[in-house]
């Protein structure tokens, strides 16, 4: 919600010029106006400092990663399938692929469930259960990443292995499925990410769904639509842009998520042949290798470069997500 600033009274400086141009007797002396000016300029400077900080942020990351980029080339670093710490060769493709695969798995599993949850909570849930269920879904976001990782390692990986093996054998005709199942894998990492993005995707979807005009829903019902048909013809088309934005915000979260993924992806710097193979992700490689990398400048630079790639990726995705959410809001304005 953008506030239309009240261009009336509150934005007039205390003690304005009188129409004649002279000083009103009500006007404060410039000395007494000083605290106001200080406050205004102080806060403006603070806001400007945030902008400066982000620019500085970017410049320093780029500066520190320049060694890796100049050694391997921006393209070579990002898209070479060769991450070999012992030989000091850093091509981040296996990490990029791992990040993208796990995030896509997270979206495929997490978004439909999150949207269904949002629809159920907003449209179908009995009023009395709604508060409790909403709080419970939100609680998923209160569990720290490292705790999901711990749970993944000691519960999800051992318990799901037979299930994964069965999936792998049964669906081996699909591409990227089949063969022996590793314990930690892209799939497990994706599943944990799905759980982690669920609360935010669900929360934003609920906000978007709540903006669908009641008249449209009632009109659908009045025409004889069932509840589901009302959802399908009145809510989903209206909320599509917003839900897309929510999914993209979830994608941004999934891409940047570090600790849980580090614990369950297997940390193998190769491109896995199938869904249930071990892999690596951009964020996980930083978390794992940074400690040892401090001694080797090129290794450190490569990891910071991985951070920069991550940063740029999340910027693009979040920028896109915002555009979608704003488009959704604009539609709401017209409706």
């Amino acid at each position: 919600m953008q506030r239309e600033p009240d261009r009336g009274l509150t934005h007039v400086e205390a003690g304005t010029l009188t129409p004649g141009g002279g000083r009103s007797s009500l006007e404060r002396s410039s000395l007494r106006r000083l605290p106001d000016r200080l406050l205004k300029w102080g806060l403006t400077a603070l806001a400007a400092a945030i902008l400066a900080l982000i620019v500085y942020f970017f410049v320093r990351l780029a500066d520190e990663s320049s060694a890796a980029f100049s050694r391997f080339g921006v393209f070579g670093f990002t898209f070479d399938d060769n991450w070999d710490v012992s030989k000091n060769i850093y091509g981040a493709l296996p990490l990029l692929v791992g990040t993208l695969i796990t995030s896509v798995i997270a979206l495929v599993i997490g978004v439909p469930i999150a949207v269904a949850t949002a629809l159920y909570l907003n449209e179908l849930c009995p009023r009395r259960a709604r508060g409790v269920l909403t709080t419970l879904v939100e609680l998923l976001a209160a569990v720290p990443s490292v705790v999901y990782g711990l749970w993944g390692v000691f519960f999800l990986i051992p318990r799901l292995k037979p299930v994964e093996q069965w999936l792998s054998d049964t669906f081996s005709f699909l591409p990227f499925v089949g063969g022996p199942v590793a314990g930690p894998s892209y799939f497990i990492a994706g599943l944990i990410l799905a759980i982690m993005i669920l609360p935010i995707v669900s929360a934003i979807s609920r906000e978007v769904i709540a903006t669908v005009p009641v008249e449209q829903k009632e009109a659908a019902l009045a025409l004889g639509a069932t509840r589901w048909e009302m959802i399908r013809i009145a809510i989903l088309p209206h909320a599509r842009a917003g839900i897309t934005g929510a999914a993209m915000l979830g994608l941004g979260r999934a891409i940047g998520e570090t600790i849980a993924v580090t614990l369950v992806i297997g940390n193998a710097p190769t491109i896995g042949k199938q869904l249930f193979d071990q892999g690596y992700s951009l964020a996980a490689v930083i978390a794992n290798e940074f400690g040892e990398a401090a001694a080797t400048p090129i290794h450190r630079s490569a990891l910071i470069a991985a951070g920069l790639v991550l940063f740029v990726l999340t910027l693009l995705i979040n920028g896109g997500a915002r555009a979608f959410v704003i488009r959704g809001e604009r539609r709401r304005g017209q409706a």
Binding site: F155, L198, W228, T258, I304
Partner: protein
């Protein structure tokens, strides 16, 4: 109703029932991991809890007695509090700029946009940034550097929530105070901020709860230590990092400590969240 059922064919009614069932099932599926996580935390974590678990430091010994998590609890509380002290004035200040002075200018739009950008930055990148700017060549790891990394993480959350709350302060209040001749700084300090206080507290506590669970920003800023310390100039232990390090050990007693620490951390976060909710409830009534 009878007319409605007359026109709704059995097939459509069936579809409706099935889809309602699917949506309900999806909601229950979403809660399965929560139940499982909480069940595992309690069943494994309670066993690790004991008096000495909370009152001794980790020994760092791999085979012998692993020790407790005292330094981790103290370190997490200390670093998160310092991060709050840093993030709240800046975050609320920026929010005040946006609501009280920024108006709809391009500059305030840019600030709002970049605060949103900060929200999306992965927490490990904040850790990297602090490492580059404050750790290498500047005396190594320290607790206060971890706090700054956490503060960067909290900043956008505090700013956005504060902005929302400040916008809820009725303009009539501001205008009444100005009409009485109060200067703007007084309006802000005596009218706007006190009115918004409960909401601000809620936002801050939620940001604090989020920061308390973060591991990635601390990995190479505050690192870890065994001894309990309140010296922000040296390495500091924290619960998330203690868990992260213990999980990766193939030693049952260390893993058990990880479960105990995880339960402690989750309880602390849930209590903070609960207090935050209570604060906001007070503001609405």
């Amino acid at each position: 109703m009878s007319a409605l059922s007359f026109t709704t064919s059995p097939r459509r009614r069936r579809t409706d029932a099935v889809m309602r069932g699917v949506l309900l099932a999806a909601t229950l599926v979403a809660l399965v991991p929560l139940v499982l996580v909480i069940y595992m935390l309690i069943s494994k974590g309670i066993g690790a809890w004991s008096w000495s678990f909370f009152t001794t430091d980790p020994t760092g010994s791999f085979l012998g007695d692993p020790g407790g998590i005292k330094s981790a609890i103290v370190g997490t509380v200390a670093m998160v509090l310092l991060a709050t002290v840093i993030a709240v004035p800046v975050g609320v200040g920026v929010a005040l700029y946006l609501t009280e002075f920024g108006g709809g200018s391009w500059f305030s739009k840019a600030v709002r946009y970049f605060v949103d950008v900060l929200t999306g930055v992965p927490s490990i990148v904040f850790g990297l940034f602090i490492y580059i700017t404050l750790v290498i060549g500047h005396g190594g790891f320290a607790g206060w550097k971890g706090s700054i990394a956490l503060a960067l993480l909290m900043l956008p959350v505090v700013t956005r929530s504060a902005e929302v709350v400040l916008l809820l302060v009725p303009n009539g209040l501001r205008e009444a105070a100005l009409a009485l001749g109060a200067p703007r700084w007084r309006v802000v300090a005596r009218v706007v901020l006190p009115t918004a206080l409960p909401g601000l507290v809620t936002g801050v506590l939620l940001a604090l709860a989020r920061a308390a669970g973060e591991t990635a920003p601390l990995l190479f800023t505050a690192v870890a230590a065994n001894a309990t310390t309140l010296n922000f100039g040296g390495r500091m232990n924290s619960l998330p990092l203690q868990i992260f390090n213990d999980v990766q050990q193939a030693q049952d007693r260390l893993v058990q400590r990880a479960w105990g620490a995880a339960l402690t951390l989750v309880v602390m976060i849930l209590l903070t969240t609960l207090i935050a909710r209570l604060a906001s409830r007070r503001s609405t009534t």
